[in-house]
């Protein structure tokens, strides 16, 4: 995002006009815009400006934020023509008038608060968790064995903070709400490429449909917009390769990562006390295997 927010940062306060989209669905038929004059010092983010507006100018402004440091994914907004995190956007790099609108392709709850339900629905539909046969996931006995190379195959895509910005950027979603969306598809790859996972079949079945992965045409807007460098476009193209290899029956199929055998498991240090007795009938697998 550095390429987009670069600008000369002078010292002193500059007055910036923040044009915020205002919309109360109960009373308004369409959204309007309201201008606020915000004194912007160096280093001020768009989120800081919204906080300033709410505290000093207009307490009725609604926006969503939490960590203010680019890790929670709450403050995604359409700022001056691009979907970005408000807490990661320097207001003085955007010019004298900054427009703040809700993320496109999501219903609007109020003002600049999007209803992220489309993303959540698609995300849960692809079963975004490790799927394995047997009881190991429910009653873990030991760690799985995974090499650093196997980790690198999917780690980049595990950094997704579910901010929903990629769905706003995607051109397919701009016309087709039934499309699965870059976030869900990237997470299908994140789990399918994870050597610990064994649930590839079911997940691929969910996205190998007409409005699934094949309506991605590599416009790359999702990757450009992603604030965490997750590169969903890369995940999706790698997923296409996985599916094609599957359909054509080529490529090696390794089994899921094995559980560490006893001689490779971490051992409890003698000065650390053992776990207390189980409170749940049956106990956890780890407690069964206490040395």
């Amino acid at each position: 995002m550095a390429e987009r927010t670069h600008g000369a940062v002078e010292t002193g306060i500059v007055t910036v006009t923040v044009r915020v989209s205002r919309f109360h669905p109960e009373t308004d038929r369409s959204s309007g815009q309201q201008d606020y004059l915000v004194p912007a010092g160096p280093g001020m983010t768009v989120l800081d400006a919204l906080v300033y507006i709410k505290e000093h100018l207009d307490g009725s402004l609604a926006y969503r934020s939490s960590c203010r440091m680019g890790i929670c994914g709450s403050c995604g907004m359409f700022i001056s023509g691009l979907p970005r995190l408000a807490c990661q956007t320097q207001i003085r790099a955007l010019g004298p008038v900054v427009t703040v609108e809700p993320l496109p392709n999501y219903p609007v709850v109020r003002d600049v608060v999007p209803d992220l339900e489309p993303m959540v629905t698609h995300h849960t539909a692809v079963r975004p968790f490790i799927v394995r046969g047997g009881e190991e996931q429910e009653y873990p006995t030991a760690e799985y064995l995974q090499t650093p190379v196997e980790l690198d195959a999917y780690l980049q895509f595990a950094y997704c903070i579910k901010c929903g910005i990629c769905l706003s950027a995607c051109p397919t979603l701009a016309t087709d709400p039934a499309f699965a969306g870059p976030q869900a598809l990237a997470q299908v790859y994140r789990y399918s490429a994870d050597s610990r996972d064994d649930g590839r079949r079911a997940r691929l079945g969910a996205v190998d449909i007409a409005h699934g992965i094949w309506r991605c045409h590599l416009a790359g807007a999702c990757t450009e917009a992603c604030p965490k460098g997750v590169d969903p476009a890369l995940a999706i193209q790698l997923l296409k390769r996985l599916i094609v290899a599957d359909v054509l029956g080529i490529g090696r199929r390794r089994g899921p990562a094995p559980v560490a055998p006893p001689d490779m498991q971490a051992q409890r240090r003698p000065d650390i006390p053992a776990a207390p007795p189980a409170t749940v009938p049956g106990g956890s697998g780890a407690q069964k295997n206490q040395p």
């Binding site: 499309f179 691929l204 409005h211 309506r215 359909v247 054509l248």
Partner: protein
């Protein structure tokens, strides 16, 4: 695992057409350049040249293959675009219409090709 088959087929048709269509376009539209390079195909679009090409078996097979690949790839793309702007309920109807258009066009094109071949 079904939509992937159509997509893979479209990609295969595309790969085939990069070769075939380049040859076709080169012959039809770049004959001036070919002359400069020393190969003179004559007036490629004259009735005589067209009918002569059409009467060779190799050409007939080439045209049928080419027509099939081009129609499939083009109509898969068209269906793709239309799917994105129509609601999911109409999906089956849309695919059916596109398929029908494709079969009709192929039938007509094949008829022309075979008639040219048989004379």
């Amino acid at each position: 695992m079904r939509e992937s088959r159509w997509w893979i087929l479209s990609l295969s048709a595309a790969a085939l057409m990069v070769v075939l269509l380049t040859l076709h376009m080169g012959l039809m539209h770049l004959s001036g350049l070919m002359k400069v390079l020393g190969v003179d195909p004559g007036d490629v679009r004259s009735f005589a040249a067209v009918m002569e090409r059409g009467r060779s078996l190799a050409q007939m097979v080439f045209y049928l293959l080419f027509l099939g690949a081009a129609l499939y790839h083009g109509l898969y793309g068209l269906r793709s675009v239309l799917l994105e702007v129509t609601p999911p309920r109409g999906q089956g109807v849309l695919s059916g219409l596109v398929l029908a258009a494709g079969l009709l066009a192929f039938a007509y094109g094949a008829y022309v090709t075979v008639r040219t071949f048989t004379g």
